[in-house]
Symmetry: C2
Subunit: 340 residues, 2 copies
């Protein structure tokens, strides 16, 4: 028998998750059956949506049960295979959860294809976050040359892609990020036209100055006070793809006043389009198109990205808690180095 480590949801967070909401434990790997692959985990992707799975609230996906393994996507190496499509040594990705190894149906795994870019990009710029940016812009935001596209968490895996894709169609990319280092990266490395620090006291006026012609597309992934600053700047016929609301996941985003009537009024008066989406809506039909279009550009260095890699499965809870407060800088990935 082989023992692996995994992290389970020990209890549900009331607001911000704490280390006590997680528990690391040793478990025996189950016996592989026909069609299964046995994999060792190389990298675990940490993503904001996981906060939603820790709560019981109704959502697009079922919550993680208490004492159940935390959900998540990993990059793995196949060690043993009883599935025709996979052989030992294959690099694959799939939803094994927060663990060091797994026995899992090969039908649930996909081979990693990155067009020569590092394999970690398969959970970042060339994975779910990159595809979120690409599909949200392509099917909802639809930026046109000369329009202004704004996005928060602009140094992160979704935001960095949104701005760079906007530039490719000739739109003005305005990034919003927290702190001088991230802002410098967004402007200098990613090539956004402008960047605004949301921690500044002058954030709202800075944003207005950065978007002198208003905002035509706001790619919403944070909510909170960023939304409050963006909202007055939205132009007639602006589009707001909503893929995340990190600022309110921990229950912090409230106002003394009821902001709903003002929002509905703006939606009406300015003919706004607000559309929630999960990338999985588009993935079956379009993920391969995305990879063929963006993969070579990432491999060639034309599309830039940044990763924030922490070491060891046991580091995952603290890294995840920090991410919800913007402490990561780039796509947050846990290097696992599992053995099975």
């Amino acid at each position: 028998m082989t023992t692996i480590k995994r992290i389970v949801l020990a209890s549900r967070p009331l607001a911000e998750p704490t280390p006590e909401n997680f528990r690391i434990e040793d478990v025996e790997l189950q016996e592989a059956e026909e069609g299964d692959v046995t994999v060792r985990v190389l990298y675990l992707s940490l993503d904001p949506y996981m906060r939603g799975r820790m709560s019981e609230a109704k959502s697009y996906a079922a919550p993680v049960p208490v004492d159940g393994i935390m959900e998540g996507e990993t990059i793995c190496e196949v060690v043993r295979s009883r599935h025709n499509d996979f052989a030992p040594g294959d690099i694959v990705r799939g939803r094994t959860g927060w663990c060091t190894g797994a026995v899992i149906s090969g039908d649930m795994m996909r081979k990693v294809e990155t067009h020569g870019a590092p394999i970690t990009t398969a959970v970042g710029v060339l994975g779910m976050p990159g595809f979120t940016a690409w599909s949200g812009l392509k099917f909802i935001g639809k930026p046109k040359k000369g329009e202004t596209v704004a996005v928060a968490a602009a140094s992160g895996p979704v935001g960095s892609m949104v701005g760079q894709l906007a530039k490719l169609v000739g739109a003005r990319a305005v990034g919003i990020a927290g702190g001088p280092d991230k802002c410098a990266f967004v402007k200098d490395e990613l090539g956004f036209d402008a960047v605004v620090d949301h921690r500044s006291r002058d954030f709202a006026s800075d944003l207005h100055a950065a978007a002198p012609n208003g905002i035509d597309i706001y790619f919403e992934n944070v909510g909170g006070h960023v939304w409050d600053a963006v909202f007055p700047l939205l132009n007639q016929f602006a589009r707001v793809p909503v893929c995340g609301l990190v600022a309110q996941y921990n229950g912090h985003d409230t106002s003394d006043a009821d902001r709903l009537p003002a929002m509905m009024s703006a939606i009406l008066r300015r003919s706004l389009l607000v559309r929630g989406f999960i990338q999985s809506e588009f993935a079956a039909d379009h993920f391969n198109d995305f990879l063929d279009e963006i993969g070579p550009r990432v491999a060639a260095g034309e599309i830039r990205y940044r990763e924030d890699i922490v070491d060891g499965l046991e580091s995952a809870p603290e890294a995840f808690i920090g991410m919800l407060n913007g402490k990561n800088f780039g796509k947050l990935i846990v290097k696992v180095d599992g053995v099975v």
Copy 2:
């Protein structure tokens, strides 16, 4: 010189408009120039959007200036013409405002075409309200067979059309109306599948019972407590075309709690589409299609409608104030019988 009567905005309302916000006055008609037509007004259309024009708030259209004529669309008879497209006796429609007669550029007027239906339908079921329903469903709501379409003010000109168009594609039409008379009309005369009285204490549970499979399209024209009841019932991928918010035009729709985070969360979790629109966005390209498709059905009695006609221009302010509180029953029209 010819004297006409007109109604101007005497002052801006603070909340609900009052009769003192309006003033009726006599003015001399200007001299007609080449290209102008001189018209006598037969009917004035009263519509909720006019409340927005009385305020200074930024909107899709400029506010009516204080002492300026109240904006509005009328059905007129051409009395004299200096425009090649029009001759005396022609029945036309255009935005003359609240008045008994006008000299106006013929380029601003359109001949009334109703496929044999009464000419008043040109400002109702076959005019702007009907087209609002048709275009909002066709381009935003996109109802499919078997889906559930809900609409408030269901006995009114927009709502009555929304439900009947939904039925034509095989969707379930759920109407929301105020009071037993309107509810009976919506169910018995318009043929909706179900109707719910929003004045009932059990409104929210009644609505749930009327939409047992949830709501796929909510055609939003009122806001307020109707929205609060609809919102939890919206299905994954529901669409919300927003064409009006009557309940909040007078500033009444507020809540002690901030409803915005819950709405954004639902937009994300249920992949909702919320889209404000004004029918004019679609009218240039599609109004004739609408008229060709719907006109004959109205003329043949297949699509039903109800008008609420009040007499005399001087009745307009009181009728308008009542409409904002749901006192009208059907499309509100003022019979003017102007002389020029």
